[in-house]
């Protein structure tokens, strides 16, 4: 699996991401500066990491979404390439039009930095095949604007088409308002594009891939992607 990790000014989670990708695939990820107009040849997976691109000025992800490299990412996605956006990366993908909806300020206004539980809604996608459907995983979040909102029709379409891949839940997989940390519509933590090849999620699976962190629940996402490409190759 050849991965390209995008780097914008103010992004700070690109190294954790590259480390996780190397761990599961054995390959170094290419770090791609935002001013580039092309992705490295042979890229399988584009990753938009977390952080605070452009200091969250204007709106989270708004300025990064208009960077030159994003035209290449849009083209890559239009050709069916897999794109993963985490945290600020999810915000950037929404702002760039690759995913519908918007990440609003957390409903209770607090920046949330802690482990949360996610329910894996289905496992027949490249982004979830490392898990079982209904599995509960524990991964950290660190965001102030992670409250996913979209108009009613869009949420209905996301649900109807099975495009919600990850949802906030209790440790035993129960979904409800008391486990919906940021007030997101339908407890949405991660969604995919219409074609299913672009995933945006607020939590950070890349931070739970090694034993030293006390939990390796995030590893399945990356391992699943590596498997997907190993099979394709």
């Amino acid at each position: 699996m050849k991965s390209a990790v995008l780097v914008f000014p103010g992004i700070n989670r690109e190294r954790d991401m590259a480390r996780a990708l190397k761990l599961v695939s054995g390959n170094d990820a290419a770090m791609v500066w935002h001013a580039e107009t092309e992705l490295p040849k042979g890229t399988d997976l584009v990753v938009v990491p977390g952080g605070f691109s452009y200091g969250d000025y204007l709106r989270c992800g708004a300025i990064a979404a208009r960077a030159p490299v994003m035209d290449a990412v849009r083209k890559f996605a239009a050709d069916g390439g897999l794109v993963l956006g985490v945290c600020n990366g999810f915000q950037i993908l929404c702002e760039s039009g690759l995913l519908p909806g918007v990440l609003m300020r957390n409903a209770r206004l607090k920046f949330i930095c802690r482990d949360v539980h996610l329910r894996v809604e289905r496992n027949d996608t490249p982004f979830t095949r490392g898990y079982t459907a209904g599995q509960v995983i524990k991964v950290p979040v660190a965001h102030g604007e992670g409250n996913y909102e979209a108009d009613e029709d869009t949420v209905k379409r996301l649900e109807g088409d099975g495009r919600v891949l990850y949802r906030y839940c209790s440790p035993d997989g129960e979904v409800g308002e008391s486990h919906n940390i940021n007030g997101a519509a339908a407890s949405i933590a991660g969604i995919v594009s219409e074609r299913g090849n672009v995933l945006g999620m607020m939590p950070h699976p890349e931070n739970h891939v090694e034993d030293i962190m006390g939990c390796t629940d995030g590893r399945g996402l990356f391992a699943g992607l590596a498997q997907h490409f190993a099979k394709a190759a």
């Binding site: 300025i63 208009r66 702002e95 519908p100 300020r105 957390n106 409903a107 209770r108 206004l109 909102e149």
Partner: protein, 81 residues
């Protein structure tokens, strides 16, 4: 030529920041506050000769492409001549 673009949240979009400000104003005892919605103001200077129509077109382009997220926000353009 100077212009102002005002970006506001659409009706029905939850505005927790506005709500917090509203609460603070009420706790300060400021009388008569019914509700607060927070928005953004961009003061923009335009290059070149004064052509109001061109300026408005450029500002609309700016608002659509970057200043507003039209999923959740409305904008208003005011060219001051």
């Amino acid at each position: 030529m100077k212009a102002r673009v005002t970006v506001t949240l659409k009706n029905g979009i939850l505005d927790p920041q506005g709500k917090a400000i509203e609460g603070a104003l009420k706790s300060l005892g400021v009388a008569g506050i019914a509700s607060v919605r927070q928005g953004k103001v961009f003061d923009i200077e335009l290059d070149g000769a004064a052509d109001k129509a061109k300026a408005e077109a450029a500002l609309k382009d700016a608002a659509d492409k970057l200043l507003a997220n039209t999923v959740i926000e409305n904008y208003a353009i005011e060219v001051k001549g």
